[in-house]
Symmetry: C2
Subunit: 218 residues, 2 copies
């Protein structure tokens, strides 16, 4: 028998807290270590408990669940955080994710799915409500190719060496450093840069870097 997944739970709504708590306790393989109405004392709470999973509401009185995320990670690094909230606000989502949350469910999620998500999370997955996932994905998709005509410039046909050079730029190196890194002369670097600018249709280091990053050429 594998050891149970240990859990702490932060939720200010008493009914909900007791409901989910009961559900967790009733599920074999899960063990609830604590359920708190606010996260004023996250660090105290977690430093001893060191749970596998933290279920966190966002809209908590006092310290918001989002701001608590980094504290959780700092106090108990192995703890995976599952945000459980009514907000599908972009800003909140990304702040939580950047801070280190690993899953994000809206509260309308069925209780059974919440339980499933806890297992997913512990298995190394990132359960996400589909509508949340969409917002995240949109940040990866390149701006929808406006017209529907085929032929996307997608590929700028940079040569291998040119890619080396632009990687250097994106890494923040000067020509001199790139030359040293690649064991070529600075004039050669200049020469390649020329070609790169030509192909990317830009005319400054900054533009080239930004374009390369946005188009995912790096």
């Amino acid at each position: 028998m594998t050891p149970p997944i240990t859990i702490v739970y932060y939720e200010d709504n008493r009914e909900l807290r007791e409901g989910i708590s009961f559900l967790i306790q009733a599920t074999p393989g899960l063990m609830l270590l604590g359920a708190f109405p606010n996260c004023q004392h996250v660090q105290d709470d977690l430093c001893d408990l060191q749970p596998d999973v933290a279920l966190m509401d966002i809209d908590l009185p006092g310290l918001s669940g989002i701001d608590a995320v980094p504290l959780v990670k700092a106090t108990s690094p192995k703890t995976q955080i599952l945000m459980l909230t009514v907000f599908d606000d972009e800003d909140k989502i990304f702040r939580a994710i950047r801070n280190g949350a690993s899953g994000y469910l809206l509260k309308h999620t069925a209780p059974a799915d919440i339980i499933a998500a806890i297992f997913d999370l512990h298995r190394g997955g990132s359960p996400m409500t589909a509508s949340i996932a969409r917002k995240v994905l949109l940040h990866f998709q390149q701006p929808p190719s406006l017209p529907m005509t085929a032929a996307q410039p997608d590929d700028y046909r940079l040569s291998a060496r040119e890619l080396d050079i632009i990687k250097g730029l994106v890494a923040g190196y000067s020509y001199k450093l790139i030359a040293g890194e690649l064991h070529i002369s600075i004039d050669t670097v200049r020469s390649h840069i020329r070609s790169v600018y030509d192909k990317l249709q830009v005319n400054s280091k900054t533009e080239a870097i930004l374009k390369a990053m946005r188009e995912g050429l790096v």
Copy 2:
């Protein structure tokens, strides 16, 4: 009664194709317009059908499902694409996403969940298997703050004006342009840049831009 969600399906494995096809046809609210063993003729297929949803396998003979994604989008822009695959390879995931896929499920997903995902997708969500979602999220999380000591420099205390300047840099502007934009002299821009470099602990435009972008200061 709302009109059914129309679907096309690309999958080379005959058994699987027939199984899922049957399932779709048996589900009220879904309508299968076609199921193909390869996507050689996506554009021909879709130009008339204009389905709401395209279910695509990745590992297709000939033209890969990933490469077909942009073609689908070009031919039938309103079609939402759900990748269905055995690969949880980072590179494949991101190529599919960048190309415009809106959902990504691994094939071990239960048939009932696949059906649910189709509805999610059509509702504007992005169903994703938790393990896939994790890989995506990792690209958003800032490098795990190495030590656990509190107090991360997070906030570089840039002044309002300094933020204006760095926004200009990130937009790819030269000092001269920034000066024009903000109606100040180029020497003033230089002066602010100095402070910014100081606070960000960098010493070149490129480093400043990269740091600002990564730390989300913009």
